[in-house]
């Protein structure tokens, strides 16, 4: 049985194709202003990778902020449920997840089946979301994906006093002008951002094991800062953390097909 999950986020669209609990293909694409177009494009990419056509897919679940605008899905689910499902499939011991996306951050406690028990999120303030890092990478003129490695090269502590993206950006520019080293600034930024995310996570109450999901989880510097801020060790998924939501959606699609068959 072949199923798929599509996660149309604010910055990227992701698709995962599963066959009998095995990942056949996964794709990530920069989202366009049209969620339906992004969804189709990323799904086509994944289908091409798997050597399949849309007709081969028995059931598709959509998620992400653009989920209601995807034409070809059979069902939609919330992002947090999908992330939870993907994380538990990866690591059955996971009881909490922290997911940082391009425009939001979420923290959730989940049960052993990957069902969400309690969750909180921030999408009101750009601080503590992927956008914070994007803006800062631009201000520092470094590629976003290099931020994690830069952090590991830091040699001294720089404290960033502002949490607001707008104010922190100015602070970063003034630090650059004062000839602070970029790696040191990056580490300071990660610490500031981790503080913000940790506050959200603590308000939900994290129970071990805690998985870090979403595209930002690839940033090892931030992950380390978050571990420090929370005082716990984070678990990382074996599969790409960025496609975890799409993976969870595909897993839900598989479950729905199975339930239909047994009904």
């Amino acid at each position: 049985m072949i199923v798929a999950g599509v996660d149309v986020g604010s910055l990227t669209a992701k698709a995962v194709i599963l066959q009998n609990d095995k990942i056949l293909a996964s794709a990530v694409l920069r989202a366009t202003p049209s969620p339906s177009q992004s969804a189709q494009a990323v799904m086509d990419m994944a289908l091409a990778q798997a050597g399949l056509s849309q007709d081969d897919v028995a059931f598709t679940v959509g998620t992400g902020y653009g989920r209601k605008q995807i034409d070809f899905v059979n069902h939609v689910e919330s992002e947090i449920s999908c992330h939870a499902r993907g994380a538990v499939w990866n690591l059955p011991s996971v009881r909490s997840i922290i997911d940082i996306g391009g425009q939001d951050a979420k923290a959730a406690r989940i049960d052993e089946n990957g069902n969400v028990e309690r969750y909180g999120y921030n999408d009101k303030c750009a601080s503590g979301t992927g956008r914070f890092l994007e803006v800062m990478a631009e201000a520092l003129e470094v590629p976003l994906e290099d931020m994690g490695d830069l952090d590991l090269k830091a040699t001294r502590d720089v404290s960033i006093s502002n949490q607001c993206v707008v104010f922190a950006e100015t602070e970063v520019i003034s630090l650059v002008n004062k000839a602070y080293e970029v790696p040191d600034i990056v580490k300071g930024l990660h610490k500031a951002m981790a503080g913000r995310v940790a506050a959200l996570a603590k308000s939900i109450g994290m129970e071990s094991d805690v998985a870090f999901t979403g595209g930002v989880a690839k940033n090892k510097g931030l992950a380390r800062a978050l571990e420090k801020a929370l005082g716990i060790e984070l678990k990382f998924l074996e599969t790409d953390p960025q496609t975890n939501g799409a993976l969870g959606a595909a897993l839900m699609a598989a479950q729905m097909v199975a339930e239909k068959k047994s009904a």
Binding site: Q103, K124, C125, A126, C164, V166, F167, N177
Partner: protein
């Protein structure tokens, strides 16, 4: 008696010199990265305007975030104390002060004797500060002054869905791209700004008379929207540049100190 006030803010530094209850010199300049240098320069300009030397100043009060780094002050006082004193000096009936600076916003309520009873500040989030307007004006390709005038021309102001300056930028871009008249978007920006400030003002239970100080007091779009939201008319300080209110308060507090000694 000649006294002075020096307000070293994060964006601008201000100096005011008062002789016998009248302003004889004032200056505003963009702050440099060194507060002590900014203070010296801005005071130098005010002295030049007043045509007096530093020695002629009998007492000087410093305020603002850089207040502890000003070499020439006799005393430093909190921004809240200075803004409260400055507003009452400028408009004696003032009971509530709303001061919007470049990077912060303050709401101060005074008791019947003009003492600070309650105050709130936001300097954590750019929304509701002058920076919000700066960012939006730049995005709309207009000056901050022109942004202030847009509300009057607008027929159907848009509503920004997000409070956060970063997210609101996306809202604004979307409106502009969809062909909505710029003045309607600008008016929406001014309304959003007023909404954020009103939250602070309402939290201190703003009471008449409400005076507005700081650079944003010069934006009629924000002021009109704010009046609607707090249900009070807002007095715009015209006796002096509203941006100087903190420095004026500092200079007046300096005069108070001298008068108390005499």
């Amino acid at each position: 008696m000649i006294t002075a006030g020096c307000d070293v803010g994060s964006l601008t530094s201000k100096a005011v010199i008062i002789r016998d209850g009248r302003i004889i010199g004032s200056a505003i300049l963009r702050s440099s990265s060194r507060p002590e240098a900014s203070a010296q320069t801005v005071m130098g300009q005010a002295l030049e305007q007043a045509k007096i030397s530093q020695d002629a100043i009998e007492y000087c009060v410093g305020t603002g975030y850089g207040r502890d780094k000003i070499a020439f002050v006799n005393e430093s006082r909190s921004e809240i104390a200075c803004h409260a004193r400055g507003a009452v000096w400028l408009a004696p009936a003032t009971k509530t002060i709303i001061d919007i600076g470049g990077q912060d916003c303050k709401a101060i309520r005074l008791d019947k004797d003009g003492r600070v009873e309650k105050f709130l500040t936001n300097d954590k989030c750019a929304a509701g500060t002058g920076r919000f307007l700066e960012v939006m004006a730049k995005l709309l390709g207009v000056t901050v002054d022109d942004l202030g005038k847009m509300s009057k021309k607008s027929r159907e102001p848009v509503t920004l869905a997000s409070t956060c300056t970063v997210w609101a930028q996306a809202d604004v871009i979307q409106y502009v791209n969809s062909g909505i008249p710029l003045e309607d978007v600008g008016a929406g920006v001014n309304n959003a700004m007023a909404g954020r400030v009103a939250t602070l003002a309402n939290a201190v239970h703003a009471q008449r008379e409400v005076a507005m100080t700081g650079g944003v007091a010069k934006n009629p779009g924000v002021v009109k929207a704010l009046e609607k939201l707090i249900g009070h008319k807002v007095t715009i300080i015209r006796k002096a540049d509203p941006q100087l209110a903190g420095a004026i308060g500092a200079a007046v507090l300096a005069s108070d100190t001298m008068a108390g000694r005499a």
